[in-house]
């Protein structure tokens, strides 16, 4: 009997969380724009991280600049949201931008460990930003790009 109650309670929780997520998504004025902006930022961060294995540190200031440009997509996406929510987004975005600026600065040192940490900080700041939005709008880590490889280039048969 208690098992049955637990199952019903669990199901109710799942339904409530799903309903809350759907409601939150519906509440946003421009959910598609938000989803797009989060993906643009994720792509730039991903591209930043790709420079690490090849030690292409000289490109990182460009990536940081692109991150700054991409941040405008987020500002535009939440432009019609209530001021309190916009302030939350701006706060999280500001921290991500500061982390990205640090990457540009640290990249000049050519210190692999420091640069890796700095790029990781951008990712962490982006996760905080993503967390402000419903899950269906958030980019899935490692799932950017087309095809079965999702960000790994063409499949082995073509690659």
């Amino acid at each position: 009997m208690s098992k049955r109650i637990r199952s019903v309670a669990l199901l109710a929780c799942v339904v409530l969380v799903t309903a809350a997520t759907v409601a939150r998504t519906a509440e946003l004025q421009a959910p598609d724009e938000v989803k797009n902006a989060l993906r643009i930022l994720a792509y730039v961060q991903d591209d930043m991280a790709r420079k690490l294995p090849s030690h292409s540190y000289a490109r990182l200031p460009h990536e940081s600049q692109e991150f700054t440009e991409a941040s405008q997509a987020m500002r535009d996406a939440v432009a019609r949201e209530p001021a309190a929510f916009k302030a939350k987004v701006e706060g999280a975005l500001g921290k991500a931008l500061a982390a990205s600026d640090t990457v540009a600065e640290i990249s000049k040192s050519n210190d692999e460990a420091k640069i890796t940490t700095a790029v990781g900080a951008v990712d962490a700041a982006l996760q905080v930003l993503n967390g402000l939005f419903p899950e269906p709008l958030r980019p899935v880590p490692g799932q950017l790009g087309p095809g079965p490889g999702r960000g790994q280039g063409p499949p082995p048969g073509l690659r």
Partner: protein, 158 residues
Amino acid sequence: MGAASPSRRHCLLLVGLAPLALAGCGRREPPAPVVDLMIETNGDLLEFKPTELTCHAGDHVRLTFRHTGKYVNVEHNWALILPHAFDAVTAAAVKAGEEHGWVPPGDPRILAATPMCGKGQAVMTEFIAPAAGDYPFICTFPGHAQSMWGVLHVLERS
């Protein structure tokens, strides 16, 4: 100045028909059909849209690539490459550098490529479609090809 004699008339006829006869002997293939393909970036995302294109072997392809980005100032291009050359071409593109538009000059593994273009711009390339098969296309800007790729399906000409 009278009418031409029968033998002279015969000669004139032969001279007049010669170009037609020569043209017939040339066995020229009909000109390759011109096919216009359009592709663009998926806005500011590092993705092509669409990710699949189709043409027939031997088609004269005119491909237009449009950069529809709005926010990020980054350049992209469209390059058709041989199958199984992805890693070699992307490495060669990095070596080619910005001065060559991130496209290694004269690389036989690259079948066609547009120049790089910035947001809001469009560029074009023309090529004769290769033999039937699936060919990857990519953006050769360093790091982009991991997600900016697609497939050109070249079909047999019926």
